[in-house]
Amino acid sequence: MYDAIKFTYNVSGDDFTRAGEASSDVKGKLKKMNVPPDAVRKVAISMYEGEINMVIHADGGQITVEITKDCITMILADKGPGIKDIDQAMQAGFSTAPDNIRTLGFGAGMGLPNMKKYSDDMKIETELGVGTTVTMKVFI
């Protein structure tokens, strides 16, 4: 099929309207590479949730996507405030998003549990005041 391919995206933290551009680009690329639709969808949803989180909670960051013939790995790294309690953040409904985010259609506390659901493997590394790196894998 294809060798390992890698894409990197800088996600801007100050423009909410552009959040999701990276995920959209990856979805288009995977489709063109004939990755099975089910895997494309899993990547698209989990990466989009992660990208939105980066923008609303961490002032942007960097996303690296690695594609091999049997796995898609997404690494979302930011230099935001970090997550105080990962178990709490993973609970459906927990959110620290301010009200103005809710008027934009987000901030229900559903993103992290959804990322867990749609990825086949998820790891969160975080340090308060330093940043957060979320690594997700979807197996093809």
């Binding site: 979805k27 698209a44 949803i45 934009l104 259609g105």
Partner: protein, 116 residues
Amino acid sequence: MTIREIAKILDAEIICCEENADLDVHTACGSDMMSDVLAYVKNQSVLLTGLCNPQVIRTAEMMDIICIVFVRGKRPDEAMIELAVERGIPLLSTGHRMFNTCGLLYDNGLRGGGDF
């Protein structure tokens, strides 16, 4: 029913991608929270929403939703229309409120899909 039939039932304007208005759809979901659309929608093909920003188009794209209906007379701006055109997603705008929009479509055979 087709997207064109939805437009007729809702007295809605087809704002873009009319070339895809004859696509057949069977299920829909309605929400102003994209968080919930991402978390709960499974295979629904139409999104009914009162939220009007570019993330509505991106959420639809990620969920493989093929048509968006803006309720309460909301109208997408140029940037949103451009995003939708790139993805071939017809955008509709109706003056009906959410409850009536859902009711009219349900009455005409469209369903929610999923278990509940």
